[in-house]
């Protein structure tokens, strides 16, 4: 007949839908797997090295910072692994080893743990790392390579790849390539209009399959799209953010290209090059750094898309997805503050509804 002690009382519900943080992270990683495998195949051993280093350093820094803060390590939740994964996908495929390590440090320590760990960070850790690297080491971070699929005669072997990863030798001309967005930016700054710039046979092309130069995991648009649709299907993400991001890029691109094709890239070039698909489905949808309500996510996504297009079109960098995501991350709390859902029986301003007569 003793009253049960405080710690034993468990409030309802006495049932659970079965989801977990770990399962959510696993699903995202599962959705990334096809595009990642494609990217690793496309860019060969150096890319594999970088991928492993990036994941490993994120896990290591997560472990170190949690131990330093006296928390019990939570590597099992998969969040650090996913951060490392996303970071690797946005790095140039043949980038040297230290980009992975420095990136991992920035992402996990500065981007996440300093804010208080999982769920507390204001900015997307992987994007913080990518932008910090891009701003600090612009040359290394824009060294694109032409696809060198594993098994092809030009592809470096494992030993050669270790040398590339460790010493980052200057890329031979046969290997170096420009990304489509980079090419457009360079040619325009030289005063060449876009129609002419892409008329040459050596100009980069769009490739839905992904046989093109670019970051490690951004090229296989169709595979990324399939992964994104899988996430939509299992309800890990909502349709609002990705659709809004893509619309935010595609609508202004279509209008501007329609008006002046010599100065503005078309919709296809915008969506199928750079990190549009990866960003729309996997980066802008990050729970922690995006708004919680459906309406907020629409605005957030539109903002990301529009800013990406603006930066690509008029900015100093050829690609703007990472900057756009970070800018909108900063706005997410404001969006959340002003776009709360309407409470049942109340008006938006929180006052009671007028009684309607049935």
């Amino acid at each position: 007949m003793n009253p049960i002690s405080a710690g034993d009382v468990i409030a309802s519900p006495h049932a659970h839908g079965g989801g977990s943080v770990c399962m959510t992270m696993r699903r995202v990683m599962f959705a990334l797997t096809p595009a990642t495998l494609f990217g690793l195949w496309l860019f060969g051993w150096p890319a594999i090295n970088l991928f492993v280093i990036s994941l490993g350093s994120c896990l290591l820094f997560e472990l170190i910072s949690q131990l330093l803060m006296g928390k019990s390590p939570t590597l099992g939740d998969g969040s650090a692994l996913l951060t490392g994964w996303l970071l690797a996908l946005t790095l140039p495929p043949w980038a040297p080893w230290w980009t992975g390590v420095v990136g991992g440090f920035i992402a996990i320590v500065i981007g996440k743990q300093v804010f208080g760990g999982l769920g507390q960070n204001l900015f997307n850790p992987a994007m913080v790392a990518r932008v910090a690297l891009l701003v600090s080491f612009p040359v290394v971070m824009t060294q694109w390579v032409a696809p060198q699929p594993l098994g092809s005669p030009a592809a470096p072997g494992f030993v050669e790849s270790v040398r590339i990863t460790l010493t980052a030798p200057p890329l031979p001309d046969a290997v170096a390539s420009a990304s489509l967005l980079g090419h457009a930016k360079t040619e325009q700054s030289r005063g060449v209009d876009l129609v002419k710039a892409f008329a040459s046979p050596t100009a980069p092309v769009t490739s839905p399959v992904g046989l093109r130069a670019g970051s490690l995991g951004e090229s296989a648009s169709l595979l990324l799209l399939a992964g994104g649709l899988y996430l939509l299907f299992v309800k890990v993400i909502g349709w609002q953010t990705p659709l809004a991001v893509l619309a935010g890029i595609a609508v202004p691109a279509a209008i501007a290209h329609g008006l002046d094709p010599t100065h503005y890239l078309g919709v296809g070039a915008h969506l199928l090059s750079g990190a549009a698909i990866l960003g729309a489905f996997f980066i802008a949808t990050d729970y922690v750094t995006s708004p919680n309500t459906a309406a907020g996510q629409l605005i957030f996504g539109l903002g990301v898309g529009l800013l990406t297009w603006i930066i690509r079109t008029w900015g100093g960098y050829p690609e703007g997805m990472a900057f756009a995501v970070l800018l909108m991350n900063a706005l997410a709390p404001v969006i959340d503050r002003y776009l709360k859902p309407r409470i049942l029986g109340r008006r938006r301003d929180g006052r009671e509804l007028e009684p309607a007569q049935s």
Partner: protein, 175 residues
């Protein structure tokens, strides 16, 4: 050069004048906060906080020499209202331990001396000479003023019993 000196002088003069006017018109005799915070205190002047009465405690809280939680009979409610009023950060964790208490008369040793009746700030004790006294549960604030006064230690503080209607779900705890 001249223009700069002139304009700065004029600016200084105007601002000085404004300050002077403001100082005269918005002059405040004493800190009105003291009275406002004192009004939020229980007003029993029981002295458990260690300050001379509720006014003293209010002044100490405003000075920052005492925490908003210094009033035991007021409990969390007073602490919360005072802290909100003054915009203080509130740590209620130290307050939950004791919980609210009331005095109860041990009827076997009460001698009916009437001393406790006189010190009770809320007239919560009823009784007459040579009659066993009794504490009115609703009126007792748990200020303990009577406990020290009782010559036979018949007044003892007891925690207020938790009832079904007053039970509060515990905050989730985890190992």
């Amino acid at each position: 050069m001249l223009a700069a000196i002139l304009s700065l002088t004029v600016l200084g003069a105007v601002l000085g004048l404004l300050l002077g006017i403001a100082g005269r018109y918005f002059h405040v005799e004493a800190n009105p906060l003291n009275a406002e915070v004192e009004a939020l205190m229980p007003g029993t002047n029981c002295g458990q906080c260690g300050f001379p009465g509720c006014a003293g405690a209010a002044a100490a809280i405003i000075d920052g020499t005492a925490p908003a939680t210094c009033c035991p009979p007021g409990g969390k409610a007073v602490a919360a209202t005072v802290a909100t009023k003054l915009g203080l950060a509130l740590d209620l964790s130290g307050m939950a331990d004791k919980g609210s208490q009331i005095a109860l008369v041990n009827e076997e040793i009460c001698i009916g001396c009437c001393r406790c009746l006189k010190v009770c700030p809320t007239d919560a004790i009823v009784g007459a000479a040579k009659q066993i006294h009794n504490v009115l549960r609703e009126a007792c604030t748990g200020c303990e003023a009577c406990v020290d006064r009782c010559p036979t230690e018949a007044l003892v503080m007891h925690p207020v019993p938790v009832t079904l209607q007053h039970w509060v779900w515990p905050k989730p705890v985890f190992a």
